[in-house]
């Protein structure tokens, strides 16, 4: 058991709370940077996919986990990011004051994809500022459906259901959108996004976001500007998700509106919930879960009797089952379980189960009469 004596504020907000952080995260960094030199191409691809999902997860976590605004429409921002990237790096965009259509380099196009998604986030975020809880979820859901329809109908830009081919990225002669190079690109973006989010969360804006999550009225009476903070959260969340979308476009190499449906939004939400709502770790764990589950089931299929293994729809069933079980038994997801395990060993042998006991709660209506 380690006791931390905090003597000044800087120590309180330090990202690495004690020397153990340098060791554990240092080893993790060495592992993820060394991985592409040891793994086969397939696994590098899977890891890349993992990082992309994790970026999107961090984006949604900022909104759902830290600001308490649940969005059922994050696939829309994901899609906007992906399509922006594909169009900007594609055959060239005619700009009003230039003769030649411009093909953007990815140094410009990826940030622009994030910016466009963030603008979309503000567009949906501002009108729904008054909404909370389930109404907000439904509003974002409606927005996502409208965006999905736009993606499939605006054929001059998105090429509709026939799909849009994404051009590979080059930096000099090296292809950036494949293999190890793309792995490092995604890893780099993920690290930047995580550090940025952690930094944000210890800043006044981040504190304000968490205050809003815990009680909107209390936050307001403490002087938090609700509208501004919520809009910032929406913009950041959408921007980060759009960034993930831009990388995802290169990962897929081929975009069609079917990749950005409501089910994708729900999957992102499941990622956040199963991983552990209200923690950046949770986004990473959730991404691992969402990607590893189909893989695990595929492996499991070889050991099951043919009648069960060949049943269609087994995967969504288990997906749903795990979601339900997680919420019933472990509301803080994989990260919550991890904290308990860690606490058990730290406190050994005097671990008390009651430390994490949930308080009995009675729901009070938010309706006034």
């Amino acid at each position: 058991m380690r006791f931390l004596f905090k003597t000044d504020y800087d120590q309180d907000i330090r990202l690495a709370k004690h020397s153990g952080y340098y060791w554990s995260y240092g080893i993790l960094l060495v592992v993820v940077f060394g991985a592409p030199f040891l793994l086969e191409g397939y696994y590098i691809g899977q890891m890349t996919q993992l990082y992309i999902m994790a970026i999107a997860g961090v984006g949604l976590m900022l909104l759902a986990g830290y600001t308490g605004l649940v969005s059922l429409g994050h696939a829309a921002f994901f899609g906007i990011g992906a399509y922006t990237e594909a169009v900007l790096t594609g055959n060239g965009v005619p700009l009003p004051f230039l003769d030649e259509p411009v093909v953007f380099s990815f140094f410009l196009s990826i940030p622009l994809a994030a910016v466009f998604a963030a603008i979309a986030g503000v567009v949906i975020g501002v009108p729904v500022l008054r909404l909370t809880g389930i109404y907000l979820a439904i509003a974002t859901f409606a927005f996502a459906i409208v965006i999905e329809e736009v993606l499939s109908r605006w054929e001059s830009v998105t090429n509709g259901y026939s799909g849009l081919i994404v051009e590979p990225l080059y930096l000099g002669d090296v292809e950036l959108s494949d293999g190890s190079a793309f792995y490092f690109l995604c890893l780099g973006v993920l690290l930047v996004v995580i550090l940025m989010s952690l930094n944000l969360l210890r800043s006044p804006t981040g504190r304000a976001m968490m205050a809003i999550r815990d009680s909107e009225i209390s936050a307001q009476s403490m002087g938090v500007n609700l509208a501004r903070t919520k809009t910032t959260a929406f913009a950041l969340s959408a921007g980060i998700t759009g960034l993930a979308g831009a990388l995802f476009a290169h990962k897929l190499g081929f975009l069609s509106p079917e990749s950005f449906t409501v089910l994708q939004s729900i999957e992102l939400l499941i990622l956040v919930v199963v991983g552990g709502i209200g923690s950046i770790h949770g986004a990473i764990f959730g991404a691992i879960f969402v990607l590893a589950l189909p893989q695990g089931l595929a492996i499991l299929k070889d050991y099951l009797p043919v009648e069960i293994a060949e049943t269609p729809g087994m995967e969504p069933f288990i997906f749903g089952l795990i979601l339900v079980l997680v919420i019933i038994f472990e509301p803080y997801g994989i990260y919550g379980r991890w904290l308990k395990v860690k606490h058990y060993f730290q406190m050994f042998p005097v671990y008390k189960k009651a430390t994490f006991k949930r308080q009995k709660a009675y729901m009070k209506s938010e309706r006034l009469k």
Binding site: I138, I145, G320, V324, M363, S365
Partner: protein, 302 residues
């Protein structure tokens, strides 16, 4: 010529009303659960799908009479709804609303794939033979023009009216209905007043599942039965929100408005608008009047 377009318009409205009634029935299910437990049930469409599949089993596979089969399906779904509440929702009672919503989403996933695994149901589409013909009946004398409504559409409209009236009476005039309203407003206080909150919640899930089953059976001739028919539940969201989530008449009016707008948009506007019309209306309503047409004003006490 002007008359022809007028009749065309009326004909579209009739079609819109009949599809709107289906939305209204599904939205009724949302509203019932929301009214009592303040949970939005994202698996409402799946309950509808299960009800339709049960009716298909009774009527087409076992060969029962249509009315008996439909009734049996509705009763079965009542108990199924009860059971779902016991198994999935009671453990998370009192947790944040969002957690409970995620449970219903998870249940929706499970129900969809489970229905695909049941032998005889599978992933194909099925049909139920109904006593209602889909041929149109003339509403007006020949000389005035052509305005038709099919028996199928009429059955949907009549059933919606019956269900709404019954449920409205139930909520305002029976002890159980009032108890349900009370437990929705304050779980703890109604517990003190001697209301068995938990069994009230199970009951409301049962009723909601039964209404969903009825919607599924009525919808079966129009869309046929398959595992993905539950997605129509997503269309019922705008209906429920439009009417104000906690209002039974609101759900019906909302359903009708959405149904009519969708049908008209499909006819008069370019393709693509039909799918999003409902959601555009939803967004506008949420921005302009978040509590819906008939909803209560919401606020939060600290």
């Amino acid at each position: 010529m002007r008359e022809a377009t007028l009749f065309e318009f009326l004909q579209l409205v009739i079609g819109g009303v009949s599809i709107g009634c289906i939305y209204a029935l599904v939205a009724l299910g949302f509203v019932l659960i929301y009214k009592a437990t303040e949970v939005v049930n994202f698996a409402q469409g799946e309950l509808m799908m299960l009800g339709a599949f049960l009716a298909y089993t009774f009527i087409s596979i076992l060969g029962w009479n249509y009315w008996v089969g439909a009734g049996a399906a509705i009763v079965c779904m009542f108990f199924a709804g009860n059971l779902i509440d016991r198994i999935f929702l009671r453990p998370v009672l009192g947790q944040p609303q969002f957690s409970i919503v995620m449970v219903t989403i998870g249940f929706g996933y499970m129900a969809r794939s489970a229905a695909g695994m049941v032998p005889g149901w599978g992933t194909e589409t099925h049909a139920i033979s109904t006593p209602f013909s889909s041929e149109g009946m003339q509403l007006l004398p020949e000389t005035m023009g052509s305005l038709v409504i099919s028996q199928t559409d009429l059955s949907v409209i009549v059933a919606t009216i019956i269900f709404c009236a019954a449920l409205y009476a139930f909520f305002t005039h029976t002890r159980l209905g009032v108890a349900m309203q009370a437990s929705s407003q304050n779980q703890l206080a109604s517990y003190y007043m001697g209301i068995p909150v938990k069994s009230v919640f199970s009951m409301i899930w049962g009723i909601s599942a039964a209404v969903a089953a009825a919607a599924g059976i009525l919808l079966a001739p129009t869309t046929l039965i398959d595992t993905s028919m539950g997605f129509i539940g997503l269309k019922a969201f705008p209906a429920a929100v439009l009417g104000g989530f906690g209002s039974i008449p609101g759900a019906v009016v909302g359903g009708l408005i959405i149904g009519i707008i969708e049908t008209l948009a499909g006819f008069y506007l370019p393709p693509g608008f039909k799918n999003v019309a409902a959601y555009v209306v939803l967004l506008i309503v949420l921005v302009v009047r978040p509590q819906g047409l008939f909803g209560q004003k919401t606020g939060k006490r600290v």
